[in-house]
């Protein structure tokens, strides 16, 4: 385990100065997410247009550097993407944290790739994986209009 891998500059920066941390205008979908064990909370605001494109996305919430940075990075990364692409990115991201797989998404800029990869250090800290994935799961809840809150404690 290596703290430097976990707390990379990019993450500390996104943690301290999160992007898109607000209620974006004209959102048409939203969801709340919750990590009951540590109390992390996130609220995703999503504007998905008729063509199923993420026109805007933002979040509000409280949590550790990892969860805030992850929410911030997520909104930056998927804003402007087709929903299907966003879903692909999410899958890639989860796999990266699960088994260390490489990201392989063409539509990401090199910068975005680097930024997302900065979260890969979390993999070595199993208890923190939930912090990193909370915002992403909550995004899916918003998009699919699930009634229940996203909850990292769901068993499966």
């Amino acid at each position: 385990m290596d703290l430097k891998e976990l707390y990379q500059e990019i993450i500390l920066d996104h943690g301290k100065n999160p992007r898109n941390k607000k209620r974006c205008k004209g959102f048409n979908k939203q969801a709340e997410g919750h990590n009951p064990l540590c109390g992390d909370k996130v609220h995703i605001f999503l504007k998905l247009n008729k063509e199923k494109k993420v026109e805007d996305i933002s979040f509000e919430g409280e949590g550790c550097a990892i969860s805030i940075a992850s929410a911030s990075i997520m909104t930056e990364t998927i804003k402007g993407k087709e929903f299907n692409v966003a879903k692909k990115i999410l899958e890639n991201f989860l796999n990266m944290l699960k088994d260390g797989s490489k990201l392989k998404i063409n539509s990401l800029s090199e910068d975005q790739n680097t930024t997302m990869k900065s979260l890969s250090g979390v993999k070595q800290f199993p208890m923190r994986v939930k912090c990193a994935t909370l915002a992403w799961h909550t995004f899916m809840h918003a998009a699919e209009e699930k009634k229940q809150k996203a909850n990292t404690e769901k068993a499966d």
Binding site: P36, C38, P126, M127, R128, E153, A155
Partner: protein, 405 residues
């Protein structure tokens, strides 16, 4: 299967009881523990201990992983569909109380019927009795026949459109009868009635496959499965854990707590309040591995052989009456001896190191029906052998001698 090598894995048998080798025939009560289970608990406390699920430090992470791995192991062992269906309880009794309380609260009202059998252990009756008192429900008892079995027709007869749940034992802890659970479940499903199976005696001795059995709830006690005391498992079908309210309240089982309201997460979290039996659950993973290493089919085959031998040997003694004669018998033989009370039998057997149980085995309804207040019971486990049966028969002869002198 080499029974000697299995037995040698259990340290208890290195001890003498009243100067004699231990002949342990009280397995339906609780089983002995293999060394690997005992060692796993020691190792956990010595090297890995921490409370689980709540802290992010290394020990807590490891402990949490070991704990949750056991849930996966159990899920796989009993062929459940999802982790949410595996709830850790204190014992099987708590599992059945959990079902009676939460299902009862939500679905049972005045006049509704709860259908159980005359074979049931108090653990599958008393919780329903509470509900009877609280809600004015009715409890019906399916009759057990002379062989000590409950036939499916006896259940069928009692089902009405007020029947809200059926509670049956998988394997009677007195007569040894294995009940036709699958058939009962099939019948119940046609009427949309959920079935709770008391799996206390089924779990250690039969192959478990929840998909095949199809029951809605299945309660087990780990201490009867070569595992630690203090922990049980309740299997509960996802459709139920999704609907039923929580049981006990406390830390770990909440989502959001406000002064005026509280919300709860999904299963198993919502059913596991407070600090869990961490060491016990981790230790139990080795019990499952032990059973898997020996092979449940080998265990079943072996126990069947010894049980049959036991029945046959006891039948040779004219003063013995075996209680029940089920067509499909698990590794349990209950009996009485003419003119000798079961407690006296147990005491005399104990002098020879033969440990059996005497009493009503928490089945007073059944004993009343059979017209006896107590029986003697020999119940077998994986480590028992024909020599143990011989020791039993010989010790019984001693009872005859003492009481007929």
């Amino acid at each position: 299967m080499d029974i000697k090598s299995v037995k040698s894995q259990f340290p208890i048998f290195k001890n003498k009881i009243n100067g004699k080798s231990l002949v342990y025939l009280d397995n339906a009560n609780s089983s002995q523990k293999p060394e690997r289970v005992i060692d796993r608990i020691s190792k956990f406390y010595s090297k890995e201990f921490s409370n689980i699920g709540r802290s992010v430090h290394t020990l807590a992470v490891t402990a949490t992983n070991r704990f949750e791995e056991t849930r996966d192991l159990v899920k796989k062992y009993i062929n459940a569909k999802s982790r949410e269906e595996i709830i850790f309880t204190k014992n099987a009794t708590e599992g059945m109380n959990l079902v009676a309380s939460t299902y009862g609260e939500k679905f049972i009202n005045k006049g509704d019927e709860i259908l159980i059998t005359e074979l049931e252990h108090h653990a599958n009756y008393v919780p329903w009795h509470f509900l009877r008192q609280k809600k004015g429900a009715v409890i019906k008892f399916a009759k057990c026949n002379d062989r000590g079995e409950v036939e499916i027709d006896e259940i069928k007869k009692l089902i009405t459109n007020k029947t809200k749940i059926i509670g049956i034992t998988h394997l009677s802890n007195v007569t040894g009868a294995i009940l036709p659970v699958k058939k009962i479940v099939d019948l119940a499903q046609t009427k949309k009635i959920p079935v709770l199976v008391d799996g206390c005696q089924g779990a250690p001795h039969l192959k478990l496959d929840m998909q095949e059995l199809g029951c809605d709830f299945y309660a087990m006690s780990c201490h009867k499965m070569y595992g630690p005391t203090g922990v049980g498992i309740l299997y509960a079908k996802k459709q139920w854990v999704d609907q039923l309210p929580p049981y006990q309240g406390g830390g770990g089982m909440i989502e959001e707590v406000k002064k005026d309201n509280i919300t709860f997460p999904g299963s198993p979290t919502k059913y596991e309040a407070g600090t869990l039996q961490t060491a016990e659950v981790v230790g139990f993973s080795e019990s499952i591995r032990f059973i898997q290493d020996v092979g449940i089919k080998n265990i079943m085959q072996h126990e069947k052989e010894i049980t049959e031998y036991g029945v046959q040997e006891l039948k040779k003694n004219n003063s013995i009456k075996i209680i029940g004669d089920p067509k499909n018998r698990g590794s349990i033989i209950s009996f009485t001896i003419k003119g000798i009370h079961p407690h006296d039998i147990a005491t005399i057997l104990d002098e020879d190191g033969v440990a059996i149980r005497a009493g009503h085995h928490c089945c007073q309804i059944l004993h009343e029906k059979m017209g006896v207040t107590a029986t003697a019971r020999a119940s077998l486990g994986v480590y028992n052998s024909k020599e143990d049966i011989d020791a039993l028969s010989n010790a019984i002869k001693k009872c005859n001698t003492i009481f007929n002198k």
